[in-house]
Every structure is written in structure tokens, then in C-alpha cells.
């Protein structure tokens, strides 16, 4: 558990996603009406408005779309990033357990669940 990672404010709309995250599964919302995957998870498809959304496990792999090494206080830093999953959507995340000075856009990464302040696991990524 890391006190440095703020826990997500889980809602009724997203509790299923976060429950799967605690089981180590990165789930993606698939629209049963138009077939598209969206990010971030929500009750209605942002493309066709349908409420027929099914959470399906993602492969858990992707590539770095962009990243920034950010300072946290005087002596600490973290890497915020957008990762494009193999399924096509791009999500905000952190890159962890990496040599930040060697990171590159386009690098392949794999999901790693990290417990946040209250224990809820959040999807972060490691270099594959």
C-alpha cells in the first residue's frame, strides 16, 4: 500500500471495474450496441449512448503514448503517462519500477496493479 497514491473515489457507476482491479484484472468497457471500447469506464457508451456495456478483461499490454517525469516534493518523483492499450484505447496511468531517464514514447508496457492509500488497487504499468 502506498500513502502516496490517492485512492479513486469509486462510484456506483464504476464499482464493477474497481472490483475486478482488486482481483488483478484490467477490464475494458465494450459497447454491445456499437461494438466499440471506450475509456474511462462509464454507464453509457460515449460513442453511441447505449447502456449495454460489458466489462471484458484486457490483454494488459500496451505502448507509451506520452509520459512526464514529475517531481513530488523535493526528493521524490513519479512518471505520469498515457498508455495506448493493444485494444486501442489510451488511458492515463503511472509507469512504475522503471528507470525514468530511459523511458521512451512507443515503449511496450504491461499492467501492474498497485494498492492505493485505502488498499484499492489501481492499474499502473511496468516496462514489458
Amino acid at each position: 500500500m502506498s500513502a502516496k497514491i490517492p485512492s479513486p473515489a469509486v462510484t456506483t457507476e464504476t464499482s464493477a471495474f474497481w472490483g475486478k482491479a482488486n482481483d488483478g484484472v484490467l477490464a475494458l468497457p465494450h459497447c454491445q450496441a456499437c461494438g466499440k471500447i471506450h475509456w474511462y469506464p462509464r454507464a453509457n457508451c460515449p460513442f453511441c449512448s447505449s447502456d449495454k456495456i460489458e466489462l471484458k478483461p484486457a490483454k494488459g499490454s500496451g505502448t507509451i503514448y506520452s509520459f512526464s517525469v514529475s517531481r513530488r516534493g523535493k526528493d521524490d518523483s513519479y512518471v505520469i503517462a498515457y498508455v495506448t492499450l493493444d485494444e486501442g484505447v489510451t488511458m492515463m496511468t503511472n509507469i512504475v519500477n522503471a528507470d525514468a531517464s530511459a523511458l521512451k514514447i512507443g515503449q511496450k508496457v504491461r499492467v501492474a496493479f498497485v494498492p492505493s492509500a485505502d488498499g484499492q488497487k489501481v492499474p499502473m504499468f511496468e516496462v514489458a
Binding site: 479513486p8 471506450h38 475509456w39 474511462y40 506520452s66 512526464s68 514529475s70 489510451t90 514514447i105 489501481v122
Partner: protein, 388 residues
């Protein structure tokens, strides 16, 4: 219905303070309002519309109208972050053209410097924001949500830290003539790239200032503008947009200016090459580069080369920008730079900019705003104004 030539910017006032621990927020709003009213030559009773963005939690237009004892018949609380005030000008022009009001007052004020605000730490997000749970765990901050765009821009187009630094250099060249500017020292490219990294690839000097203060403008119908003694600044065109994460189909290389800009240019009937002076929202150096591309001042990906080697310095560069010193050096009150973008454009069109920086024959100006976070979701607005 077009708003072209249907309204004029008749009053503009930038509060001189950059640090106001001894003033309340509403007091700053009122001082800005009264400054703009005095600048226009109108009286407070002529104001019949008020525009206010939610620039402080819990503060409403109702409170401010009551505090200043305004008598209004039209009100608008559009809130799109730092670009709200450009959208307010556009909406005021629409309301005037529709006969809903005659003279609209728009105010901005804030005390982020006194309150210890920083763009480098996560800000509290409203509980109702659906995106909070998808961004807070990753410590998204204002700075790193722009840094993500800068990093990708460097990857796709070969933009360099030195090219971004030229934006700050140009702003500092201008700020040296502004006695109210928070940062008046001229800086070099080396100063910028050697300043501490806040969120790679953005250094401390790639970031705007955190200042207290505010400003106000008044938009009025043509009959009122023509009866006043001030130089006349007409609104020719306006555009607005909100750009976000597109359901996960994220494209960080295009800002909302790619939507707002063409709408404004089409309405005004002019092109980027006609613009003599541009106020470009400069929360960070990358913000300027991307907006210049999206507005069509250069092709996508060429913004770095466009701003390099003094491209934005008044008198010598290809496009004089932010001659007040901008948000990067002069003022970014309430962490919102839209109002000061409008005000400096009005100064240039009136011929009231600093003599060292006044653009010769400045008859056509653009003001561009980007509010929120370029790397997640943001409001964008473009105004095109003409001296008549």
C-alpha cells in the same frame, strides 16, 4: 446570425496588483469592474449585463451583482477555466445582437499567490467530476498535463526544449517594459533550459507565474461605442470549443483551437496572415506552440520553428505576441489568463501598448484562450477584433 460588427470592446482594465493579501476576492472583482467602467467612459448604471465564471468555489454571480449593486437584465456564468472570459465576450456579442442587453461587464479576479496555489501539485477535484477517479490516483497536475503534450510534440515533430524556451524569452523581452509585470528580467534560452525541471520536458521557466489580481472588459452595442470618446475596437468573429479525451481515442497533438480558430476566422472574413498582433494563452510554452499551429499561423508540427529565434518578439519577429509579458512573465490572476489576453489585444488596437512594443498600424488582432488542461480536457476560444 453573425456577430460581426454587432458589438465593440469599449472598456478594458487590468488590475495593477500581483500580490493582494490585504484585499478580498470580491473587492478585487469590484475594483476591476469599476476600472473598466471608468476606462470606457460609461457609468455603472449603463451596465445591464454581467458575466462571471466560477473562478472561486461558492462565489456566484448573484453575490457579485448584489455586492456591486448592479441592475442587470442579462447574466451568463459560462465556466471553461481560463478561457471563460473570451467566451463571455462572444456570448455578450450574441446577447447584444439579439437585443437582450446593451452593455455587458465581464470580470475576473483571484488570489492564488496569497493562497499558496501551485500548478505542480494535484488540485482538489470536485466530487462530481467523473474523471477524478481516473486521474487522481496517478497524481495528475496542471503542469504534467501540459508536459504530456510537450513530450509527444517533441516525439512526433522534433520540437526541442530550446524552441519552447524561445516563447518565454519573447515574453520576457516584452515584460521588461511593463512596470506591473511580476517577472521583469529578460531571460535567455539557456536560462529556461537550465531552470529546474518541474515535469519533464517542462522546466520552471516554461511555466506561467502564479499571481493575484484580475481584470475586466465591457462589451457594448455599436451605438454606445460610437458615442464614447475612446478608440473603437469591434468584434469581428469568435469561436469556441471544448476538447477532451474523446472516449479514449486520445489525440494530444490538436487543441480546441483547431475548432475555435477556423470558426472565428470564417466569421471575421480574415486569415491568419492578416493578423497584426496576437494574444496567445501562455500557461506554458507548449500551449503557445500548439495554439499557433492549430490557428493556422504555421503548419502542424512547425510551431517550434515558428517561435524560435525571436519569432514572437514585437518589432523583429514574424508575429508579435503577448506584449504585456503574458502569463509567462506579467500576470496570470486566478490561474486564468484569458482576461489579460483580451486586454492586451484591446491596448494594441487602441494604440495604447507600451511605445517600445506598440505594433505599427495595428488594425487587426486575435486573442486565443485555452482553459483547463491541454492534456486531458480544455476549453478553447478565439476572438478576432478590429480597430475602426
Amino acid at each position: 446570425m453573425s456577430i460581426k460588427n454587432r458589438s465593440y470592446l469599449v472598456g478594458a482594465y487590468e488590475h495593477p496588483t500581483r500580490h493582494a493579501p490585504d484585499k478580498t476576492l470580491v473587492q478585487l472583482h469590484a475594483e476591476c469592474a469599476y476600472g473598466a467602467i471608468a476606462d470606457s467612459g460609461l457609468s455603472k448604471n449603463d451596465i445591464d449585463a454581467y458575466y462571471f465564471a466560477g473562478d472561486a468555489s461558492g462565489l456566484s454571480a448573484m453575490s457579485l451583482v448584489d455586492y456591486m449593486n448592479l441592475k442587470v437584465r442579462h447574466v451568463d456564468c459560462t465556466e471553461t477555466g481560463g478561457t471563460s472570459y473570451l467566451i463571455h465576450v462572444s456570448h455578450a456579442a450574441q446577447a447584444i445582437a439579439a437585443g437582450k442587453c446593451n452593455a455587458a461587464l465581464i470580470t475576473l479576479a483571484g488570489r492564488p499567490r496569497s493562497e499558496g496555489s501551485s500548478g505542480a501539485v494535484p488540485r482538489a477535484t470536485a466530487d462530481a467530476s467523473p474523471e477524478a477517479q481516473w486521474e487522481a490516483p496517478f497524481s495528475a497536475t496542471t503542469v504534467n498535463l501540459y508536459a504530456l503534450c510537450a513530450q509527444r510534440h517533441m516525439h512526433e515533430f522534433g520540437t526541442t526544449p530550446e524552441q519552447l524556451a524561445w516563447v518565454k524569452v519573447a515574453a520576457s523581452q516584452h515584460a521588461q517594459y511593463n512596470p506591473n509585470a511580476m517577472l521583469k528580467n529578460v531571460v535567455t534560452v539557456e536560462d529556461v533550459v537550465n531552470s529546474p525541471m518541474v515535469a519533464s520536458p517542462l522546466h520552471r521557466l516554461d511555466c506561467c507565474v502564479v499571481s493575484d489580481g484580475g481584470g475586466a472588459v465591457i462589451v457594448a452595442r455599436p451605438e454606445i461605442a460610437k458615442a464614447l470618446k475612446r478608440p473603437r475596437v469591434a468584434l469581428l468573429g469568435a469561436g469556441e470549443a471544448i476538447k477532451g479525451q474523446n472516449g479514449g481515442e486520445i489525440d494530444l497533438m490538436t487543441s480546441g483551437a483547431a475548432i475555435a480558430g477556423p470558426i472565428a476566422f470564417a466569421e471575421a472574413g480574415v486569415t491568419p496572415s492578416d493578423i497584426k498582433y496576437a494574444s496567445i494563452y501562455d500557461s506554458f510554452t507548449i500551449t503557445v506552440v500548439m495554439q499557433l499551429e492549430d490557428l493556422g499561423f504555421c503548419k502542424k508540427g512547425e510551431g517550434g520553428r515558428f517561435v524560435a529565434d525571436g519569432g514572437l518578439i514585437a518589432g523583429s519577429g514574424r508575429l508579435p505576441f503577448n506584449t504585456d509579458g503574458g502569463g509567462l512573465c506579467n500576470n496570470h490572476p486566478s490561474n486564468r489568463g484569458g482576461m489579460t489576453k483580451i486586454i492586451e489585444a484591446v491596448r494594441q488596437l487602441r494604440g495604447e501598448a507600451h511605445p517600445k512594443l506598440q505594433v505599427a498600424n495595428c488594425n487587426l488582432a486575435l486573442a486565443q484562450g485555452t482553459g483547463g488542461r491541454l492534456g486531458s480536457r480544455h476549453g478553447s476560444a478565439t476572438l478576432i477584433m478590429e480597430r475602426q
